[in-house]
């Protein structure tokens, strides 16, 4: 049969989660290239939205793409260029961040950012008895970040949980460490911390450990980093739960795209991965020890 080319365009590994994405994309590409001689998967990473636009332009300008699996840096900037590629008859799979125009995508695979925030908030409301002081660390100003924060705020609505402070720490563990130190200096009583990403949670935990403060009952993150899952498995008191936002969704998306070409029926539609609470009981399912994330 004619050889099919599937291009995968993802952000460059610039923090833990995207590193996981790159890892899983490469793993999927290697597996598929070995298993399906008729399919070639090409993975390209881009450090910014505009370079991602350039990258997909370059890919489509120099070869016939049968499918494009894309995890867009930003929705708006990628919408028009992806639409242009779709016009050439390319099958479009969008992962994680939707494009501004959902008509473009043939297949959509995503986690649920709102649920990440919402489920975490619900856990805190229940376990803190409906009241307490929370500090929040947010990432880089983007849709993902906004959605998680929104989900969290929806989740605590109606309770007496009070968000003392909310600041950006750019999904960077260093900045999170500093920010947490400063929160600790500023607020004498903190009941829980939510860092909306596990990279940041690492910094938070270190700062709490250093301060020796005992009153903090929970420090939670999100995304399902293996170090944090390990804590959950071990029954850690401060980080007993985790919300998944697995970078492996890129692998899922690539496999689904391949299935569209190799299977007998077209694969189209929307797949929203749930973000259930990971607890001690189900943690093993979310644990990938060989992944870098």
């Amino acid at each position: 049969a004619e050889k099919k080319t599937i291009a995968v365009s993802i952000p460059a590994a610039d923090h833990g989660w995207t590193a996981g994405v790159v890892y899983h994309a490469n793993a999927a590409a290697a597996e598929i290239n070995a298993a399906f001689p008729d399919i070639e998967v090409v993975v390209k990473t881009s450090p910014s939205a505009s370079s991602q636009v350039s990258a997909i332009e370059d890919l489509s300008a120099t070869r016939q793409l049968d499918a494009l699996v894309i995890l867009p840096h930003t929705s708006e900037e990628l919408t028009t260029p992806v639409a242009a590629i779709k016009d050439n008859g390319t099958f479009i799979t969008v992962v994680d961040r939707g494009l501004s125009d959902p008509e473009i995508q043939d297949l959509y695979v995503a986690g649920d950012n709102i649920a990440v925030g919402f489920n975490t908030a619900k856990f805190l409301v229940e376990n803190l008895g409906g009241k307490g002081n929370v500090v929040v660390l947010r990432g880089i100003p983007t849709v993902i970040d906004d959605e998680r924060i929104k989900g969290f705020q929806d989740g605590i609505a109606g309770s007496e949980l009070k968000v003392l402070d909310i600041q950006y720490a750019n999904w960077n563990s260093d900045e999170a460490f500093k920010l947490m130190q400063d929160y600790l200096a500023k607020y004498p009583q903190i009941d829980a911390v939510w860092a909306n990403d596990d990279d940041m949670l690492l910094g938070v935990l270190e700062a709490i450990k250093q301060s020796g403060r005992e009153e903090i009952k929970y420090a939670l993150g999100g995304n399902g980093m293996k170090e944090i899952i390990e804590k959950v498995m071990a029954g850690d008191a401060v980080t007993p739960v985790e919300t998944p936002y697995p970078p492996s969704m890129i692998k899922t998306a690539i496999y689904l795209t391949v299935a569209h070409f190799t299977g007998h029926a077209p694969v189209r539609g929307s797949f929203k991965l749930d973000a259930p609470l990971i607890t001690k009981d189900n943690a093993a399912e979310y644990y990938f020890p060989e992944s870098p994330f």
């Binding site: 460059a12 590994a13 790159v22 490469n26 090409v42 993975v43 390209k44 990473t45 450090p47 910014s48 939205a49 505009s50 370079s51 636009v53 350039s54 990258a55 332009e57 370059d58 890919l59 300008a61 120099t62 070869r63 840096h73 930003t74 929705s75 708006e76 900037e77 919408t79 028009t80 260029p81 501004s100 880089i140 100003p141 983007t142 849709v143 970040d145 906004d146």
Partner: protein, 330 residues
């Protein structure tokens, strides 16, 4: 009347391409050749058009930076400024479209230009009046512009109104006689800039201020005014770049223009402008921007570089390009 030995003829010196400075062109030539050997598609009309069109963005901003740098300044804020201007422009157009329809586009362009000039004026004024290193000032305003756009959009993104999208599209995607519009715009900007830098008093004074501030001051040049003006030109260039690229990006996001300042400065330096001032090369800058874009393109088109190492290979190529450029001078 004079017994001055005749100077060797230096045809085409000045605002047409300066043949004395072939360095950047050589580097580009070498790069294109290597690219072609690696992947013949590299020179497909389509690919070349894409790459050059893309480079227009950095090229236009870098043309402005050529003024700032040759006058002895530096502007790190161009990336955030681009994001800020894009944001202001889109917010304005979206606000204006109910009343003005597609006339919102030219109005938005005017607003962008005014905003750019104001931003440049701010940078220039702080640098010259406060006598603070441009590095620090523009690092500060870089944070300021970025924060302002984040604030104005509530931490998120502003997308251009759907109804304007199609009308505005040709500014990036259209072409005249087959030449993409951004290329035409950047050529026009470069022509005007070359005229200003090489053929006007202001340009001459820009270089003089960068070459030796004391001499310029003692010769009655207002160093303050010239430096400030260079920053204003930079602001205007950023605005023009933003205007061209709104249709490509369709939105301003908090990550728009991130790290562009480094690309811009690299383009300027590869082009042969001296980072310490006193020497400006408009056409070199344009070529420098094209070189950078070709390098990035080559990374995508070639298959043997691990994606983790792309940045490393890019770094090596830039250094080599610089070496070629330097060597050609001796």
């Amino acid at each position: 009347m004079t017994d001055v030995p005749a100077a060797p003829p230096r045809a085409l010196q000045g605002w047409s391409i300066g043949w004395g400075d072939v360095g950047p062109f050589l580097a580009l030539g070498a790069l294109v050749l290597i690219g072609f050997l690696i992947n013949p598609d590299f020179l497909s009309a389509n690919n070349v058009a894409n790459v050059v069109t893309r480079s227009a963005f950095i090229a236009i901003i870098a043309i402005g930076a050529t003024f700032v740098i040759s006058s002895g300044g530096l502007d790190l804020s161009v990336g955030s400024m681009a994001a800020f201007i894009t944001g202001v422009m889109i917010l304005f157009m979206n606000w204006a479209v109910p009343s003005f329809g597609t006339a919102a586009i030219p109005l938005g362009m005017a607003v962008a230009l005014v905003t750019g000039i104001a931003c440049g004026l701010l940078n220039g004024t702080i640098v010259t009046m406060g006598r603070i290193e441009p590095f620090i000032v523009t690092l500060g305003t870089m944070g300021i512009f970025r924060a302002l756009i984040t604030y104005m959009t509530d931490g998120g993104t502003v997308a251009i109104d759907r109804s304007l999208r199609e009308a505005y599209r040709p500014v990036y995607f259209g072409n005249v006689l087959g030449v993409p519009i951004p290329i035409l715009v950047s050529l026009a900007v470069a022509l005007v800039a070359a005229y200003v830098l090489y053929r006007t008093r202001f340009g001459r004074r820009c270089i003089a201020v960068g070459a030796n501030e004391d001499v310029a001051r003692y010769s009655g040049i207002s160093v303050t005014r010239v430096r400030t003006m260079a920053f204003v030109i930079q602001g205007a260039c950023v605005a023009i770049a933003a205007i061209c690229y709104v249709p490509r990006l369709g939105a301003a996001t908090p990550t728009t223009g991130l790290l562009w300042e480094l690309q811009v400065i690299t383009a300027v330096v590869i082009g042969g402008t001296a980072l310490r001032g006193g020497r400006g090369r408009i056409w070199g800058t344009v070529i420098g921007a094209v070189i950078l874009e070709f390098i990035a393109n080559l990374m995508v088109l070639s298959d043997f570089v691990s994606e983790y190492l792309v940045a490393a290979v890019q770094g090596v190529i830039i250094i080599i390009a610089m070496l070629i450029q330097r060597m050609s001078k001796r």
